[in-house]
Symmetry: C2
Subunit: 202 residues, 2 copies
């Protein structure tokens, strides 16, 4: 069986990345989502194993020690990381899997898994990015400023990615992401079986 | 402006390549088709500049001498080739262009234009390939045998290509080819402008 593909998706706050991914998974239930391991407490509305696995600090540090994470970082005193095993399992079973991480996480994954395909979701313009961040209406001016600065820092590193998808329209951006995944499925290294299948019967 | 992409499409007799390309162009009139220069006489139903430019032997040899062909070959005493200028023009104008050639032509283009993306259209099985070649019903057994042998020789070289599209269903195969083209448009080297556009307004 041919191997699955690993797709690393990043995008700053205001890029609309979550909506793009939601649209992708709704139309392509065969694609897997990599569940992060984190050490912070569960928040209301969150469920174990949905987006995160909630694990202990000791367990996380054990995973670091045993090289069981493709990337990890610390945020406000808590660990966040991408477990290696589920990704390797998906690949060996021929399933495509998406890992959602920030630019630092993507850089770590690129080193450990050079065959990973990386995609950056980009807001269509600075004005639109600002509008989206302000438009939420629930956050302080200071927090919006902070998100904007961090978004711009991420955008500066977009050229580290294999693909850039401008999210002007979320449905179109989901389709674009699907085109990247489909094209990867058609790559010759994932299709060598068919050559032998056609030739061995002749 | 970002550059266009060059897509080299090959597929043996019986792969259904022509139908796949027809479907692609019908839905995507913005994509260009590279017109071959040939020295054989025009046949009934053919039109100058549609699929071929009919030129003289002297003209063709002049083009070879001046390195104005991306690939060329001789078939039954006549020259066939892909002119370089229209392809370079398309690329510089940001247009995608498709070159339809056989495995030898593709190998020549790969050397002259390493950035070209190569796609092999594959019949789904040996039985189906045979069925399609026999099914035309207009050709001698000898000619069918010859086409079959040459198809198998081409299939053996499919792994030289970047992508393989199995043509089980022509409409789906056209969509697959379009996914490859779309994904190439999303590559970061074709999207660097957007990074600067977003950053320069902040």
């Amino acid at each position: 069986m041919s191997k699955g593909g690993v797709f690393v998706v990043s995008g700053p706050s205001g890029s609309g990345k979550d909506t793009v991914l939601k649209g992708l998974f709704a139309e392509n239930p065969d694609i897997l989502f990599s569940i992060s391991s984190i050490t912070r407490a569960m928040r209301p509305g969150e469920r174990e194993g949905e987006k995160y696995n909630f694990i202990s600090r000791e367990h996380f540090e054990e995973m670091i020690k045993n090289d069981l994470l493709l990337e990890h970082n610390v945020f406000v005193g808590n660990y966040y990381g991408t477990p290696r095993i589920p990704v390797e399992k998906a690949v060996s079973e021929g399933r495509d899997i998406i890992i959602e991480v920030d630019v630092n996480g993507a850089a770590q994954i690129r080193k450990k898994l050079p065959e990973a395909v990386t995609v950056f979701i980009m807001p269509p313009s600075f004005e639109e990015l600002k509008r989206r961040l302000v438009g939420r209406g629930t956050e302080s001016e200071e927090l919006i400023e902070k998100r904007l600065r961090s978004a711009l820092d991420e955008i500066k590193r977009a050229e580290e990615y294999d693909y850039i998808i401008v999210n002007d329209d979320a449905a179109a951006a989901s389709q674009s992401l699907m085109s990247v995944i489909k094209a990867c499925r058609l790559k010759t290294e994932r299709q060598k079986n068919i050559i032998n299948e056609v030739l061995e019967k002749c």
